[in-house]
């Protein structure tokens, strides 16, 4: 098998990959040490902080608006039949709650950040707000020292937990491996891989009863393998809206095989709309250069989608930029597209929430003031938080 397969690999690509890996590996020069016993653990507190980092992070969604996308061209079955979209006014009420990822806190209306009770789980997908003031979270219990042969895919126990407004765990239930992508007042909406397809499943919060709604495209399945490119999703009525890089187009400024770079891998992000009732899908490219979407949120009226993204062709050696755009869900028109990195400031995206149909509160991390923020900065400390309102129109 192996020999046959290896013969199919383009020799030039084969040689280029081998050279790249060899050169990168040999450029690594770890600090010399010969004594295992005195070698300190690097940043010993890191695991505690990063234990809350989700694998396959799905950005903050959390809407279950009753507004179906314009142009859907169908008659919606009754909400009770689907279990989606019921009590939508409660779920859709603005201002929305602002959850902070991936350290998982919530920014209270008075601006105070509080840490979410996660019942020890490492979330897979952002916690989703519930109308009673609590939230639902799906995840696994982190394993700090897995035994040899430990397989995360099969050996980790996934759980769904409902937390009340008082921070107390109300429900704790073991489920199949899943990522939480949305919630209605009565159901969690899960993305679940299996048998070559990714399913969208509803999970009744009261009874635990589950129902498979539809499959996701294979491209989403591929990208969700590691979470490196998590697709960012928002639930809008009976529709799941996701944004992810579009790999079908590449911005190539040269041929790196000939040493004539640089190039970028992705020029655009695509917005995919999946009708959870019919299974119909519609894909369209976002009308701005987008290399990676960091978060999406649907407006209270269900007409707009706010997208925080990294633009295409960011300078290779300069500070990266984070931008904020709002697109119309019924046609993709861009209502606004503005930088969150004004003046060259370095920020990291934490979360956003619509305050009304024209204003989005965005939470950012001041990355420049914390050069090690990838690991050691707790954004729940007020000094590290930047919170500002962005106007859509």
């Amino acid at each position: 098998m192996t020999e046959t397969h290896e013969k199919k690999i383009d020799p030039r690509l084969d040689a280029h990959i081998r050279r790249t890996l060899r050169e990168v590996a040999h450029a690594v020069a770890p600090a010399s040490t010969t004594d295992l016993l005195v070698l300190p653990r690097r940043r010993p507190g890191r695991h505690r902080r990063t234990a809350a980092v989700a694998a396959g992070v799905v950005a903050l969604s959390g809407l279950a608006g009753a507004v179906a996308l314009a142009g859907a061209g169908r008659d919606d079955p009754p909400a009770a039949q689907l279990g989606l979209g019921s009590d939508a006014d409660v779920m859709n009420a603005a201002p929305q709650r602002l959850f902070l990822a991936p350290w998982w806190g919530e920014l209270r209306p008075d601006g105070t950040p509080v840490r979410l009770e996660l019942a020890g789980l490492e979330p897979h997908g952002a916690p989703q707000p519930l109308p009673h003031g609590g939230y639902v979270v799906v995840g696994v219990h982190p394993v700090e020292d897995p035994p040899e042969g430990f397989d995360e895919e099969t050996d980790l126990a996934y759980e769904l937990v409902v937390v009340g407004a008082d921070g107390e765990v109300e429900t704790e239930r073991q489920i199949a491996p899943s990522t939480l992508v949305g919630a209605t007042p009565t159901e969690a909406v899960l993305r679940r891989d299996g048998r070559g397809a990714t399913h969208i499943v509803t999970h009744d919060l009261e009874t635990g009863r589950e129902r498979v709604l539809t499959d996701e495209p294979s491209t989403l399945e591929e990208e969700s393998e590691s979470g490196t490119y998590p697709n960012q999703s928002a639930l809008v009525g009976n529709t799941l809206v996701s944004v992810e890089p579009d790999y079908r187009e590449t911005g190539l400024n040269g041929d790196p095989l000939d040493g004539d770079g640089p190039f970028v891998a992705t020029d655009h992000c695509q917005m995919e709309v999946v009708d959870l009732v019919t299974g119909d899908r519609d894909e369209r490219q976002l009308r701005f250069g987008c290399d990676l979407a960091e978060g999406v949120e649907a407006s209270p009226d269900g007409r707009h989608l706010a997208v925080v993204y990294e633009p295409t062709r960011a300078p290779a050696d300069g500070p990266f930029e984070v931008r904020f755009a709002v697109v119309r869900l019924d046609g993709g028109a861009v209502a606004t597209d503005q930088s969150l990195s004004e003046g060259g400031r370095e920020v990291g995206y934490l979360g956003m929430a619509w305050q009304d149909d024209a204003t989005v509160k965005v939470a950012l991390l001041d990355a420049a003031a914390n050069p090690d923020w990838n690991f050691d900065v707790d954004p729940l400390e007020r000094d590290d938080l930047i919170v500002e309102d962005r106007t859509v129109r």
Binding site: M1, T2, H5, D10, L13, H16, I17, R18, T20, L21, E23, V24, A25, A27, V28, A29, P30, T33, T34, D35, L36, L39, R41, R42, R43, T50, V53, A54, A55, G56, V57, A101, E122, P142, D145, P146, E148, D151, E152, E225, S226, G227, T228, Y229, P230, T250, P256, L257, D258, G259, G261, P262, F263, A265, L292, E310, D317, F320, N374, F375
Partner: protein, 147 residues
């Protein structure tokens, strides 16, 4: 009998390099390798092939670290720092770093460790067909972005 100290002195750099290729971060790589040695140290007498055991542990722990830091990796991936100062190598490394972790692990083990796919499948505990598919998809993406 090879002691843990001897393996540490003789192979730590090699293991860190492997972990860097799997994780894309030297700091994380050193963490993973250190943890692998600490874990192995406690059961050293029962390990028949220490280096193979440590490599497998590094691969498994790298996968674990990657999952936990998926979000951070997104931020890290934006940083196109020069690693080798060879432009075409750095650009290809940038693409490799952004492969889904499962695919990149197979690529690193196949092209850097020179492991046959059946051995990779055994190490990762995945069906050979899955490993073959992951390599195929990784190469397909590399072809698209490097063409």
């Amino acid at each position: 009998v090879t002691t843990v100290g001897e393996v540490f002195a003789g192979h730590r750099v090699e293991l860190v390099r492997l972990a860097v290729l799997l994780l894309g971060s030297e700091a994380q790589a050193e963490d993973v390798v250190q943890a692998a040695f600490e874990s192995a140290h406690t059961r050293w007498d029962t390990i028949e092939q220490p280096l193979a055991y440590l490599k497998r542990t590094v691969v498994n722990r790298a996968g674990d670290a990657h999952r936990r830091r998926a979000r951070e990796r997104g931020w890290l991936a934006r940083q196109r720092e020069a690693v080798t100062e060879i432009p075409e190598v750095d650009e290809t490394w940038h693409v490799l770093r952004r492969l889904p972790q499962a695919q990149r692990t197979v690529v690193v083990l196949h092209f850097y460790e020179d492991l046959p796919l059946v051995d990779i499948a055994e190490m990762l505990g995945r069906p050979p067909a899955t490993v073959r598919s992951q390599l195929h998809r990784a190469l397909d993406r590399l072809r698209r972005t490097l063409r």
